[in-house]
């Protein structure tokens, strides 16, 4: 066994409540070029209302992992279960149905700049309604209500009609989160949601993600470069290095030793 899994088993289990909304990753492997795995053998289970921070140096495959989970990237082998359903074998409409249960928040927000904030939030419902209704912008009234509720939650109600390119970075990321939550996802993935934001806004976004986790009772996976921020907001920290999980435990157990193992070197810790 790897030293990695050892360190993982040594630590206490994170205090996450069990729930029916879960993600199980089993033996996930991803190679972009044959024989050069970016993800070697990832095993990860998250369930219930729980924020998990994934940390690791640039290029270890954190983004790849998240993108594999909703199949924006095809995994090479392994299984991914979302609330018990294996999504690796799905195609076409089934894949889309599975994807709408996985919310995704992007580092660069990925909003449609020329559409209004409201339309961007409603984008989260595209998996649920027909292209025809999407074209006519005929969303069910309950979706619109929900979108307003979410805008209330993220504090952007008065911007509903504004175009997305009028917003600041932090505001855009809130829209991105509202859009993901709009999907009524079973899990929420966030790929470096705070890297383009200032420290204060970053904290607010992380608080928002935690709130989303608890309100919707879903697991949230956050890729994050800011270890302090990750520690502060996560219930659980997963450390990755060179395509493997080398730490998995509660933030309190994450020592400098672990950080050295994850990022390599030590000068930067000082």
């Amino acid at each position: 066994m790897h030293k990695a899994t050892e360190s993982a088993s040594n630590s206490r289990r994170p205090a996450c409540s069990a729930g029916d909304k879960s993600l199980v990753v089993e033996n996930l492997r991803k190679e972009y070029t044959r024989g050069k795995p970016v993800l070697k053998n990832i095993n990860l289970t998250v369930a219930g209302q729980c924020t998990t921070a994934i940390i690791g140096p640039s290029g270890t495959g954190k983004s790849t992992l998240l993108r594999c989970i909703n199949r924006l990237i095809e995994p090479t082998s392994g299984r991914i279960l979302v609330s018990g359903q294996d999504i690796c074998t799905l195609r076409g409409a089934d894949l889309r149905a599975a994807r709408r249960r996985i919310g995704m928040v992007f580092q660069e927000y990925n909003l449609v700049e020329r559409l209004s904030v409201m339309e961007n939030v409603l984008c989260g419902r595209l998996g649920y309604i027909s292209p025809w209704r999407a074209w006519l912008r005929k969303f069910p009234q309950q979706d619109i209500e929900r979108a307003y509720d979410l805008l209330d939650m993220v504090g952007l109600t008065e911007f509903a009609r504004a175009r997305a390119d009028e917003l600041s970075g932090g505001q855009r990321q809130r829209v991105g989160i509202a859009r993901a939550v709009m999907q009524q996802p079973h899990i929420l993935l966030a790929d470096e949601p705070t890297s383009s934001l200032d420290p204060k806004t970053s904290v607010e976004i992380m608080e928002l993600l935690r709130e989303v986790a608890s309100v919707n009772d879903i697991p949230v996976l956050v890729n994050i470069h800011d270890v302090t921020l990750g520690r502060r907001f996560a219930d659980r920290v997963v450390g990755m290095s060179k395509g493997d999980v080398v730490f998995d435990g509660v933030p309190g157990d994450l020592t400098d030793e672990h950080l050295k193992l994850i990022y390599g070197g030590e000068d930067w810790l000082a």
């Binding site: 619109i144 209500e145 307003y148």
Partner: protein
């Protein structure tokens, strides 16, 4: 209160304006469909007729190239090139006159705009008809046609490029007491010359296409050969000429894109 939260994509005024545009477009189209004189049988017949045309075009009469096409093809390229060069000579002063930041005489601006608009509003083929009537059939009419028709295009874009040039260097030159010709040569020209050559090349590309058809009304080039083959129902020769035009046009376009990349 949440019941009142209705969301619509556009404000009422926007919706109204769009609605009016679509309504007018719809009415115009409906009117067009109702009144245009189309015989439905001809439409039904079209695919068959087109297939028949292709059948008659095959096999392409490649042997005719040496005898009847090569010379006029070269002539076509000459018409396009000389026509473009002639245009440049006229379009530069007209473009300067049209640029309101370079030429501050409103009357001249107006005159230039008038020249540019009339050059562009009349189609190449119509210009060709005019010049064939003036100069008689032949390459002279074709070259003048190409030149006159291109003035509008080149002059307009050149004038716009001039208007967009940065005022800073110009002011500096004026402040140094340079006469206007120097201001133009050392202030404006360096700023707009890449755009100018780009426009010229682009127009040459268009002119290759246009000079291949003006012969249909007698203005020289490969179009005259096409006209003759059509009138004699030599469909295999028509096919050959079309292939030649296609090849020349594609080569011209590739050439122009290549050079433009190097200029810009």
């Amino acid at each position: 209160m949440s019941a009142e939260r209705i969301w619509q994509r556009f404000t009422p005024a926007e919706r109204m304006a769009r609605f009016v545009v679509f309504l007018v477009a719809g009415i115009l189209l409906a009117w067009s469909f109702r009144t245009v004189e189309i015989i439905p049988e001809f439409l039904m017949d079209a695919p068959e007729q087109v297939a028949d045309l292709f059948k008659r075009m095959w096999p392409v009469d490649y042997a005719y190239y040496e005898r009847g096409v090569h010379a006029v093809l070269i002539e076509t390229l000459h018409i396009a090139t000389v026509g473009t060069i002639m245009t440049l000579g006229i379009a530069i002063p007209v473009g300067i006159m049209a640029a309101s930041n370079v030429c501050r005489v409103p009357a001249l601006n107006w005159l230039a705009t008038f020249i540019l608009v009339s050059s562009r509003s009349v189609n190449t083929l119509v210009w060709a008809l005019l010049f064939v009537a003036v100069f008689g059939p032949g390459t002279l009419a074709g070259t003048v046609t190409i030149a006159v028709r291109s003035i509008g295009f080149v002059g307009k874009l050149f004038g716009e490029a001039l208007e967009e040039s940065a005022p800073g260097p110009i002011e500096a030159l004026r402040a140094a007491g340079a006469p206007w010709i120097s201001v133009f040569l050392k202030g404006y020209w360096p700023q707009v010359s890449p755009a100018f050559w780009g426009i010229a090349l682009f127009r040459w590309d268009i002119n290759v296409r246009e000079s291949s058809v003006i012969g249909l009304v007698g203005a020289g080039g490969i179009g005259m050969a096409l006209d003759e083959a059509l009138n004699l129902f030599h469909w295999d020769r028509v096919a050959l000429i079309l292939v030649c035009i296609f090849a020349v046009v594609v080569i011209a376009e590739v050439f122009v894109t290549h050079i433009r990349k190097r200029i810009i």
